[in-house]
């Protein structure tokens, strides 16, 4: 804008005379920088947020090939215009100065730029060589819940249908695999039955180890609004440390780490004793199951003979209500209080809440329950509480697991990128499921191998043993996130080949042999599926920088170079919609029906199952779910193996794998914080987010700090049997751990807390436990 034009605007502006001289100069300078661009000058498109599993709708404003702003999408039923601080700062994560722009091949201690053709040829050659020499168990691809539906579908189809390998895994194994096995063991179908509307309709919101105020802030805002509008709404915070969520709780229940198993059983004990079980609901809709309960048979996944590969398989058997009564007899309030440290009065209060048939109860959980050495069991027990009281598949009464990644549901769970899964709840172990996939994919019978691939923990161990020779990592940062990182210390030149596709340099790209630049978020077309079964689509808004390409394109191009072009028979300039519609064909008629591509383009997403163009807010519920033919009540129609009923599982308390002792007297819990998402590779490049929390720290209880002679800001060393990390101490920060307990966030690649954590894991989901191990604190 020319100076005189600006002055004309100012001159035409009433009140301009009120400008002070210096302010007028400032205003002029600002206006001149951007030529007085207004909202209306940007091109606005819709997209889901890039970060957590909430799936907030954003409007993305772009001009001249650059994203310049976002707005919370007021038309989105998820967030109704509100975002959190990460969401408001989305545009800046695209523009860190160190964006990866070109394929780079390791060259001694450095890197050399190569062309895409050279890079893709090399990846194809490495995979082919490995297949020829070592077979399909020696190849692997490791993605994430940030893979779009396209990325995950391309990876799964290429691996299972092209290379005949099930070594496809996502980082979601570290995140919500226990929720998958929880839902699958109880409903024989994954994902919650409720939706976000539960947050307005429910009366009591029980957070099981879930710091929702920081991890799902927009959803927490919906609950707070309900609390404001509907007096009597209650938030119950069950936790092992006080968090910002606790500040809003009507009751804060602090339990000893790992004792939530006992607490849930204790609540059930009281429900049975007080006659608050909905016997008619149970008789009509529920079966009872038990599995292996012997601690010695189960173990914790990574010790002794199981240190390299853990292959526990549960043996379910039928049980009964009478057995449940006998099983729970031991979980008296006194005993549960002794195990958990929770006062008996609070245990009784929790039983009263779950047992009050006049109030809607919503249980919420995320990593505290999932990253647990008995994560599947905890998922089972929380859902048991709802099944026993009939508080399920009703508006405002549901067990509701929350996810941490934008498409952990849409891609990992629905497309099926866990090593044993196929789309729409199908698994590679079942012949009929493989046959259906082979039919849709146009492949000969017997193409897909029946043996599940390596789960994440085993995959990386197999890689370190040299059994996995070629691995491709996309959209994730395992050399920060794998627990007990020492076990995967890697130096290139070890005869293996690691390809890493990412948007920025990370500790994972540092150990790679080949780096491929990826297009991020709205630099490409995408589909994500959020926590409430909402599938959301976005169009590309800007071109990616340099030569960056979307992950799915990278996979397809390598597959073509390996002679597997038949897997991706779509036009090079128009493959998103046909690929999605092929994937969608897996879901139709099964109660997993995702919306059509055309519907996704026109809406702010739709909740599956989508039948006759209509979404479903409450699964299994008469009057809501089109697959339910009953006039009223619920029908768990997916659970064919249980007579179309849901399963209540009897699951005992087991102690954690490692507990504090004289040598390591503190519990260590790790997790996320509001400002940074996961390993911080995106959020740390946003000035406002970095400047809010520039580095990791260790939260210490005030009394412990006093005993240790430590005050906020002092450097301390957190030491476990596996390693140590030096961190600044923080006393009375946003989180307040109880005595004998510390917390460290994991976003800081310079202070790797996963060099300290334990790689014990859940017996069924194979998800590791990042929430419980023993450490000591030393002054640094």
């Amino acid at each position: 804008m020319k100076r005189r034009d600006f002055l004309k605007i100012l001159a035409a502006t009433p009140g301009v005379a009120a400008f002070s001289c210096s302010d007028q100069e400032d205003a002029e300078r600002i206006a001149a920088q951007r030529q007085a661009t207004s909202d209306a000058d940007l091109t606005w498109t819709k997209a889901p947020c890039r970060y957590c599993g909430t799936g907030c709708g954003v409007e993305v404003g772009a001009k001249d090939g650059r994203v310049m702003a976002v707005r919370g999408d007021e038309a989105s039923p998820v967030n109704r215009g509100l975002l959190c601080v990460k969401g408001y700062h989305l545009p800046a994560f695209l523009y860190g100065e160190d964006r990866l722009l070109y394929p780079q091949l390791r060259d001694g201690d450095g890197w050399k730029r190569i062309s895409w053709d050279e890079a893709l040829d090399l990846v194809a050659a490495k995979y082919q060589e490995t297949l020829d020499q070592h077979g399909p168990e020696a190849v692997a691809i490791y993605g994430s819940g940030q893979w779009t539906v396209f990325d995950g579908y391309a990876a799964s189809k290429w691996f299972r249908g092209g290379m005949r390998s099930n070594n496809v895994e996502p980082n979601a194994r570290l995140c919500m695999a226990s929720a998958v096995t929880g839902f699958m063991t109880q409903f024989q179908s994954d994902e919650p039955m409720g939706c976000y509307e539960d947050f307005e309709v429910g009366d009591d919101f029980i957070m099981w180890g879930n710091n929702m105020a920081e991890m799902h802030p927009v959803l927490f805002s919906r609950i707070l609004e309900t609390k404001r509008n509907k007096p009597g709404t209650r938030i119950i915070d069950l936790a092992t440390r006080r968090t910002p969520t606790s500040d809003y709780a009507d009751m804060y229940v602090e339990f000893t780490p790992g004792s939530d198993l006992a607490l849930a059983n204790g609540i059930m004990h009281l429900l049975l004793r007080s006659g608050k079980v909905d016997r008619s609901f149970v008789a009509e809709n529920v079966v009872f199951k038990r599995g292996i309960e012997d601690l010695d048979q189960i173990g914790y996944g990574c010790y002794g003979e199981n240190a390299e590969r853990y292959t526990f398989k549960d043996k379910p058997r039928d049980s009964s209500f009478a057995e449940l009564e006998a099983f729970l007899a031991d979980y008296t309030p006194a005993k549960v209080s002794e195990i958990s440290g929770v006062p008996e009065g609070q245990i009784r209060a929790l039983a009263d809440i779950y047992g009050d048939s006049g109030r809607g109860t919503v249980s919420l959980w995320c990593m505290g329950v999932n990253q647990h050495t008995r994560g599947t069991w905890m998922n089972n027990l929380i859902t048991d509480l709802h099944l026993l009281t009939g508080k399920i598949s009703r508006p405002g009464a549901n067990p509701f697991s929350l996810t941490g990644q934008p498409s952990a549901c849409g891609t990992v769970r629905e497309v099926g990128t866990l090593a044993h899964r196929l789309p729409a709840d199908m698994v590679v172990m079942k012949e009929a499921h493989r046959a259906k996939a082979e039919e849709i994919w146009g492949l000969p019978a017997g193409t897909i191998p029946p043996k599940p691939g390596y789960h994440t923990m085993d995959m990386f161990r197999a890689f370190m043993r040299g059994e996995v020779k070629t691995m491709w990592v996309q959209t994730t940062n395992p050399w920060v996130t794998i627990p007990n990182l020492h076990r995967i210390d890697r130096k290139p030149g070890d005869g293996r080949f690691v390809v890493v596709s990412d948007i920025y340099p990370t500790p994972t790209t540092e150990i790679a042999d080949l780096i491929l630049p990826a297009a991020a978020w709205v630099e490409r077309e995408g589909v994500f599926g959020n926590t409430e079964r909402r599938t959301q689509h976005w169009h590309k808004a800007v071109e990616p920088p340099g030569e960056a390409k979307e992950d799915a394109w990278q996979i397809v191009e390598v597959a073509k170079r390996m002679g597997m072009e038949h897997l991706f028979p779509w036009p090079e300039d128009d493959w998103h919609e046909p690929m999605y519609e092929e994937y969608r064909s897996f879901t139709l008629g099964l109660g997993k029906d995702v919306a059509s591509y055309a519907q996704l383009e026109q809406t702010r997403g739709m909740l599956w199952p989508v039948v006759d163009g209509k979404e479903t807010r409450y699964r299994y519920a008469a009057g809501h779910d089109p697959y339910v033919k009953k006039a009223e009540g619920v029908h768990f129609y997916k659970a064919k193996g249980y007579g179309e009923k849901a399963a209540v599982w009897l699951r005992p308390y087991h102690p954690p794998a490692e507990v504090p002792d004289d040598e390591y007297p503190y519990w260590l819990c790790t997790g996320r914080i509001l400002e940074h998402w996961h390993t911080g590779s995106m959020t740390r490049r946003v000035a406002q987010l970095h400047q809010a929390e520039p580095g990791a720290y260790v939260e210490i209880n005030r009394a412990d700090a006093s005993e240790l002679g430590v005050k906020s800001g002092d450097r301390v060393r957190v030491v476990s049997r596996r390693g140590n990390v030096e961190l600044p101490a923080r006393v009375d920060g946003r989180g307040k751990p109880p005595r004998g307990s510390v917390f460290v966030p994991f976003f800081d690649e310079g202070r790797l807390i996963n060099r300290v954590t334990l790689d014990a894991m859940d017996n069924i989901s194979k998800e590791p436990d990042y929430k419980k191990c023993a450490v000591r604190i030393e002054r640094a």
Binding site: T13, D26, A36, P91, Y95, F220, R685
Partner: protein, 189 residues
């Protein structure tokens, strides 16, 4: 002191004005001797782009934000004027309940990696008017900005957008948001 418009830092400011004008990053408030407000540049520095939530401009006082940033704002001795919250009633999302899920403190001026993001800047043009005497339309969305007077009235208001009729409380009966650029077409659906 709640509801008063005596701007803080006055003793310090008068001292500064006596020699070299207002402190860096501030300008004087016309017609209010001794009062200062931040410059347009400073305002922009606190936001990633126009429309982004500003970072918190002061240290952590360990108080609920709305104790000072209420619907009127208040003067805080030795700190300055705490502007009112513009979020009056963002229905359904409890926008005023958890300020710090959107507004964060700055613990450092350092950056992890430099960033080339160039965000949308404040549009200093006014809303459209039918004629010079007609009320202008809203040049921005009203969502999360329901309390018009937070920005358009009082000591925190920038001069260029300050209303000359703060006594009229129902702004939206004359100033309406523009929701579409299209014009009316008969028969269009």
């Amino acid at each position: 002191m709640r509801g008063t418009y005596r701007t803080g830092l006055i003793p310090l400011l008068l001292l500064c004005l006596a020699c070299s004008g207002p402190p860096e990053g501030t300008v004087d408030v016309p017609g209010r001797e001794g009062a200062v407000k931040t410059t347009a540049v400073k305002r922009a520095e606190r936001r990633a782009y126009d429309g982004a939530p500003p970072v918190i401009a002061h240290e952590n006082f360990q108080l609920d934000c709305t104790e000072c940033h209420d619907l009127e704002g208040m003067e805080i001795d030795d700190v300055g004027f705490a502007p009112p919250s513009p979020h009056e009633k963002t229905m359904g999302m409890s926008a005023t309940a958890r300020c710090r899920q959107c507004h964060v403190f700055s613990a450092t001026d350092d950056v992890f990696i430099a960033n080339t993001f160039a965000g949308l800047r404040q549009d200093l043009r006014k809303g459209q008017r039918l004629n010079p005497l007609a009320p202008p339309t809203l040049p921005h969305k009203a969502f999360m900005r329901e309390n018009c007077t937070a920005c358009h009235s009082g000591p925190a208001a920038r001069e260029e957008i300050r209303t000359d009729h703060p006594e009229r409380p129902r702004c939206r009966q004359c100033h309406v948001p523009v929701t579409t650029r299209e014009t009316f077409v008969r028969g269009a659906t």
